[in-house]
Amino acid sequence: MVKFTLLTGRSLVQGVGKEAGKFSEKYIQEVSTCQIDPEDLKILNVKPGDYVRLTTEYGSVVLRVAASTLVHRGSVFVPYGPYANLLIGTKTRGTGMPSFKGIPVEVEPAPGESVPDIKELLVKIYGRGGVR
């Protein structure tokens, strides 16, 4: 378990992907993958393509991990999306804006686990959902 700082944000692939549809392979793949600096991956003892569990005070989720030299050491980047939101709280401090960036997060390897299917996840967490 290593302490990181969580950043969520836009990514080009997430942007392109969402124009193709939120249930598209491209979009789901992108938003369920977190990015970590290769040196930090070594510390975590995981390889790109492995699965890790991210836990903030608001929630926890298993994501695929990718290596990126663009991410600050000590940070983990997750593109905007339904997976990232499981880790975000609702306190807006009177501004309307929750904290989407700079959240303390614990990261640990999650061997044997995988990214939950988006539809199953939505139904499980929010109690409803499903298109015919």
Partner: protein, 432 residues
């Protein structure tokens, strides 16, 4: 085969209006554009689209008639004590106006995606004002461009080449511009910058304050501020002071980290200070192609740019109270209409939990994640492709989006759908 020029792209706040679309048999067959997101939109928009009104029966969404769907939405709004009408940034101004009318009619609260995006920017502007300009001014004159907490290479793909650091202006060529990127990570944009300043997460406020202090010729005792060595800060301050026309573009790196609107206060204060020395402007990088339009329409019709509550019969604006995430997380609203947005994909978990626990209707061309959770879904036409409409660029320049193909049979525009709902709502209210 028809070639349509000067097509405005309905994707991001750049609102590029120089795309070329080739249409054959009512289908877009080719797009000439320099942006991958735009290309994807024009060529893929119809995939994963919903073409039928849907209603949830026994836990699953099943097709229904448009009339039935409209009836259900109208009833939902009329029966609710405090409905939330959310979204709006990905539709036309004409539809946004209908939204205001509807929210006023049902005494609900209308909010748009600004609330989780550049809301803090607007709060900052409400404190201090807004020294800014249109993007053409940046291109014509700017010799210093700063991207702070934003990543146009990924999120506003053509921004640099069309409007800013890589653009060719009447009085300024790209090589005559200096580009600075300030961010917590080395973004793709940073790779093209002359100067990259890596700031510690959540410490932009400190860095901006340090810059302001140096501009005011005050001494800073620390060796580094926000993880940046003091020498680098001094260099940046001199670069800013010494330019002829500088522009600070900023994004969610500032609005979403700790400090939120205070970060924007700091940015505005810094730009105000810089205007003592030279011309300097500031501009938020608006995400959705018509979130600026939503702010404009809401402001001129109600006086406030987002989070407008009509429960007392007149417009009220209380960030933290009438803003969507707060309304949802505190369970204030007892029904929600989502138009052209996907809060299930964007909002924190607990807000989404409440959203899904009350009646929920969605008007959207896609089966978005929110539509997946809804009680009623009404498909709509794509603005800027199947439907004309007005949108406002991130710098406030308005453009008319074109219709290049016909929507599928039976698919109405947001305006038409909202009109039908409004009409039915009024009938129901009279009938009571």
């Amino acid at each position: 085969m028809k070639v349509i020029n000067a097509v405005v792209c309905p994707c991001c706040g750049n609102l590029c209006d120089d795309n070329e679309v080739q249409v054959e048999d009512n289908k877009i067959v080719k797009v000439r554009t320099e942006c991958a997101i735009s290309s994807s939109k024009f060529l893929n928009y119809y995939k994963e689209r919903n073409t039928k009104p849907l209603v949830r029966v026994d836990g699953q969404l099943k097709p229904t008639t448009l009339e039935d769907a409209i009836e259900r939405v109208a009833r939902m709004l009329v029966e609710a004590e405090y409905p939330l009408l959310y979204g709006w940034s990905l539709t036309s101004c004409e539809a946004q106006k209908k939204g205001v009318e509807l929210a006023e009619e049902v005494g609900g609260v209308i909010d748009n995606t600004t609330t989780v995006c550049h809301g803090p920017s607007i709060l900052g502007v409400q404190d201090l004002g807004d020294p800014t300009c249109t993007l053409g001014e940046v291109r014509a004159r700017a010799d210093l461009i700063i991207y702070w907490g934003c990543n146009p290479s990924s999120a506003h793909v053509r921004h640099m080449k069309r409007y800013s650091s890589l653009s060719k202006g009447r009085f300024r060529l790209p090589e005559q511009r200096k580009v600075v990127v300030v961010d917590v990570r080395k973004t793709p944009t940073a790779r093209n910058a002359n100067v990259f300043v890596q700031v510690k997460p959540n410490q932009d406020y400190e860095l901006m304050t340090a810059l302001k202090m140096l501009l005011q010729n005050e001494e800073i005792e620390e060796q580094e501020v926000a993880g940046v060595p003091i020498e680098q800060i001094e260099e940046l301050a001199e670069l800013m002071r010494g330019c002829e026309f500088g522009v600070l573009f900023y994004g969610l790196g500032l609005t979403m980290s700790e400090g939120r609107e205070k970060n924007i206060d700091a940015a505005l204060t810094l730009v105000r200070e810089l205007n003592k020395w030279t011309k300097f402007a500031i501009m938020p990088m608006r995400g959705h192609y018509n979130v600026t339009g939503a702010n404009q329409v809401l402001t001129w019709q109600t006086g406030y740019p987002y989070a407008v509550d009509f429960s007392r019969g007149y417009p009220r604006f209380e960030p933290g109270d009438t803003t969507a995430v707060d309304v949802l997380s505190r369970g204030y609203n007892d029904a929600t209409l989502v138009v052209a947005s996907d809060p299930v994909a964007n909002f924190p978990k607990d807000a989404v939990k409440h959203l899904c626990s009350e009646p929920l209707a969605v008007i959207d061309p896609h089966i978005s994640l929110t539509a997946f959770m809804a009680d009623v879904v009404i498909p709509s036409a794509f603005i800027g492709i199947e439907e004309e409409g007005t949108a406002y660029r991130m710098d406030g320049v308005p453009l008319i989006l074109k219709k290049v193909v016909e929507p599928p049979e039976g698919i109405l525009s947001d305006v038409q759908i909202l009109d039908l709902i409004l009409k039915r709502v009024r009938e129901l209210k009279r009938g009571r």
